[in-house]
Symmetry: D2
Subunit: 366 residues, 4 copies
């Protein structure tokens, strides 16, 4: 008895030690859109309760320090290689992580991965209330059960095992026609799926991008060159219901490697919020100098499509660039037409943007 008591004391100290060890959080810099908060979400990941390598709370700690706002732990229902050591409990990862998520003010979305061989493939059901009813023989039944719980369901890493195995089949049409399938991963981990991208546009499915992480995340923070694949969700507020509403409405973009992928109607406003153009600070004969700030975590690459401005323009993340523009009307407002080559609005298609340079009255005298 004394032994137990003393051990518990030690345990308390260890646990407190762990809590205080919590690292600082570095926010991911993508600005809000007018009327919407930009939530950084990773809605597909694993723990030791299926084939992941970490305890569920680790996923919360990772999300905190790398600047995520919402995560879904989506352990496989049908594939649990460690179950000899960690017996099956489909709802347990959520339960174990929930307190810590609340303490860190992160949205933890209850989820699971319906994992069938491809085709039909793997599907995440998020916003479920109970994973157990989804543990059923029939794939279609499992998806139906998720929908009965008003889940949001998306098709994961569509062509991971080849385009042939990832083709759209009758069963997908069935789900789609029943409105049981709501989105697709356009990007999963380190891969981009052009077919998924195309189908999202054609069928009005929500574009998703997630890490599908299994191992520990070694990142201390997210950076332009080294970050998880995530979904930017433009939600009315940072709450579970608002997140779900935004997903259902398709208000997402995917941050994938050095790119942003999404619908033109969303990427246009996002670009405008990322790039801040000052008034020109100097206009000389046939030249204007103007500072342009990129406040986002994306290195923005621009290619000229009009007459004015440098042919190529790089706006590195979180920095200010100084533009020298040759023009015969240095004091008037200018329109620079560019293609934002790493804002992808369809497979192979970039966003067109305009940089508006305000006019300047006074000419610098040398």
């Amino acid at each position: 008895m004394k032994r137990l008591f003393l051990i518990l004391t030690a345990a308390t100290i260890l646990v407190l030690g762990n809590l205080s060890q919590a690292a600082e959080r570095h926010e991911i810099a993508f600005p809000d859109l007018p009327g919407y908060k930009t939530l950084k979400c990773d809605l597909h990941m694993h723990t030791v309760f299926s084939d992941g390598y970490v305890w569920p709370t680790v996923r919360v700690d990772e999300a905190w320090r790398t600047g995520l706002d919402a995560i879904a732990i989506s352990d496989h229902i049908e594939y649990q290689p460690f179950k000899g050591d960690v017996p099956t409990k489909h709802n347990r990862p959520y339960e174990l992580a929930a307190d810590r998520a609340r303490q860190m003010d992160l949205l933890l979305i209850k989820a699971t991965e319906i994992t069938r061989s491809t085709p039909p493939g793997h599907f995440n059901a998020i916003f479920i209330s109970d994973a157990n009813p989804l543990d059923t023989e029939s794939f279609v039944e499992a998806v139906k059960q998720a929908n009965d719980q008003e889940a949001f369901v998306f098709w994961n890493h569509q062509a991971l095992y080849g385009e042939e195995n990832g083709r759209w089949q009758d069963v997908h049409t069935k789900l789609y026609d029943n409105k049981w399938l709501h989105g697709m991963e356009v990007c999963g981990g380190k891969r981009y799926y052009p077919s998924a991208h195309k189908w999202c546009l054609e069928k009005n499915l929500t574009m998703m991008g997630n890490s599908d992480i299994h191992r520990p995340d070694l990142r201390k923070k997210s950076s332009p060159e080294d970050h998880r694949t995530i979904t930017l969700v433009f939600a009315k507020e940072k709450t579970g219901p608002a997140l779900k509403e935004a997903l259902r409405e398709g208000r997402t973009a995917v941050w994938f490697k050095l790119q942003i992928i999404g619908r033109k109607e969303l990427l246009g406003p996002l670009f405008d919020q990322c790039v801040m153009i000052e008034k020109p600070h100097l206009s000389e004969k046939e030249k204007v100098w103007v500072k342009v700030k990129n406040i986002s975590d994306l290195d923005i690459s621009l290619k000229r499509t009009g007459e004015l401005g440098p042919p190529l323009l790089e706006l590195p993340a979180r920095s200010t660039s100084n533009l020298r523009i040759s023009t015969e009307t240095p004091d008037k407002p200018l329109e620079l037409h560019y293609s934002a080559t790493n804002f992808l609005i369809a497979p192979g298609e970039s966003l067109d943007v305009v940089l508006l340079i305000p006019g300047k009255k006074t000419v610098a005298v040398k």
Copy 2:
């Protein structure tokens, strides 16, 4: 003739190449104060025109990319070891750098260093109109000439050659009584001078901190751990006259290594602008969880002086910390009393601060 023409063509290409090579700028994160813009200034540096190792334009490029707003090139009048190769021209560094500063929208303050053996020591005269009249045998006359041009004059690295050589002498009193001496470097390069700090407080001299850089600056950007010693100047706007007015009024603080040094009346508001406290996101039985953001480039170190909050609190630069506060009134507003150990308001004396935690109505139900 043809040879000359073709060379000039090559030269044009090279020069344009160099201009377009201009790196992006990373801003230094110290917020503005209410009513004032926080200018990041380095007002003491050298080029090949005295004993520095770079061409004057290099100083402008360095300032741009490391986030400075204003610089003064202050080559020595009396010490020019390279003059056999670079003949003396006191005003030339300013002239050579001026165009580039204008293009990059940086304030370039015309300056020079009056360099006598210590005592009396070295003095920077900034906001001069012509350095030549300061090239005179008498030290006092040189300082008078600077003041005739309405310069701002400060004593550099007071105890660089030992406290004995840096002592306050009659000649300093004479300058001071004539109002010809306006500030002192509390920090110069990698060194802090407590006597200078004390005298600034006693005699109401403006506290300065500068790099005194001679070699190329290898930094690609400024960071909390690796930055020049600079002066934060709280000016009404980013113009030369506003900068000068702020210096004359003593509205400065020094960013030195991991510290901010300045007057209590300025460091208090600066701290308040750096630290943003959210509403608590969770209150449990006898516990409140609240997020605290440090938006500055300083890792802020706090030591508890009151009852509430953790005994030591680190708020790393540009990050969010999650505070767990034990309290019997988790729903009421809380005051946490701390000493900000790296906000120095006098030699050996830290700034007292209060973290105000807003109250929270709703208690989380688990």
Copy 3:
């Protein structure tokens, strides 16, 4: 049946994918000693089988990429907060990690932590054959059982819960007199224990330094500023038996933060292997220039105790320093006497070293 088959196919792909993802290894740079191989060892760490947060194979992957040669997973016998989800199996972490360790050519030492409240404290038993017999009520009996298996037993983080709780008691004397206690952690995680250090010297116990890591290790490689606390073991070869023999003989040193801690007889030779001195490349009037290489991963700090050489000398890790020595006999061999302030041979006591500069016949003519 078909479902199972297809899932297994998917599983195979996932597992292969994970294997090929194995990152490259960065060796830790501490040279071998004459006659011995320097093994980099962390012999104290945890997994989900006690209170750690990762799967056992993660510990192998971490060791591989950060340059360790040998590890011991030492989950607590008596403290298993996750056992409701991961039922107790004392030998299981070893079994799960063994294959991967063999594939990565790492020594995995079977181990466990006998975890009693302090006093008497926590003890690691490594080189055990079966952890189950150690799961017994009596602390002394548990240690005896370990010794019956010819384990190497050391006392962990002696003063973690205060010096009072970490005092040497009769029970320790009993273990010691029976030769059942063989070492102590002089350093555990981020803490150094001077009493443990002193007792190791007095009682001829082996000095250990380990991470006691519970969370994932975020390091991509070890570096001078950011590495685990580890034990350098000077073994005849890289095998389990040779490692055990070296531990029994006390041939260890601890790499802790920016320090090396160990016995004088071992730290002397280690220093000599880390520092390589070239022949002087230039001797001028009363001056010699010589290059000194530090091939280790320790930033070596030296303080002059003799007449020659700079008063303070920093030899950064994996780099070459250029020494300028003032001497009246620039062509003769020189002896520079220093104290290696971060080679600790007893609490508060540094290693004395001599830098031998070879003589040079020819004097450079300018």
Copy 4:
């Protein structure tokens, strides 16, 4: 008089301060070849004496800390935009830097750049004794003068102003036929010139790669991703004459971005010295595990051309990779055939290599 004396005292202190500030050196990791020392050389750079932005000694300091062995300061003879402030002295950059180079044990090669509009282009003459005779109207005469001094002459950045301006003309044939032209820059700064590469192979000219740096080098050390373009010279020893002999014999390779460019006969041995293959540490049924070390500063990329081994193989710089090879004869020696895709032996042509895996007698029993 007193004033002068005191200033000189201050000057001495400043200069000593600068010397002691000399940073540590980080060696570039390219191994020696059998019989040859691999010298890391940058033989094209500028200072304020032509159109560069730093004082000559800065070039020595940069070379020291970034691991170079030999440099040539090659200021333009015909193009000196700063000469109104720094009067023309062709030999002065060498004179000013020579002492410091000797102190740092670097080879400083006396050089200049003969700078004519293109065509014919810019040519570096290195190992000259006096730059003044090269300051002459006729281009051919200038090159002849260099050769009269037994200089090594190479054509710089051949197609910098377009392939048309960089074409091979009669004047080049004239130089070549007279044996007055000895090499070409295959890479200059950030650009690669395939025509120059082809001509070096066809005409047996020495392949050069240099930085042509004008601004300060911000690198604290060289790294695989961020380094100057340099020439690796395989010389009999680290002396000026041995360097010259190696250049005349064409024993060079170019380190350019993530590539090595050179003759097959040299790149083969270089690859073999960079890559160290251990004995397999584990052979299982139809599988062998073997560690492969890349000791160089190049991330080596391999593409399989034979039957055995993974299809793509990355060997990151200064690290160990663990290879799993599927084979029916796991105990016998194996030959893995690959193309080293970043070892360029001609435009568009990679080096073929063989990884020899030694056999292993004992099979691991699980």
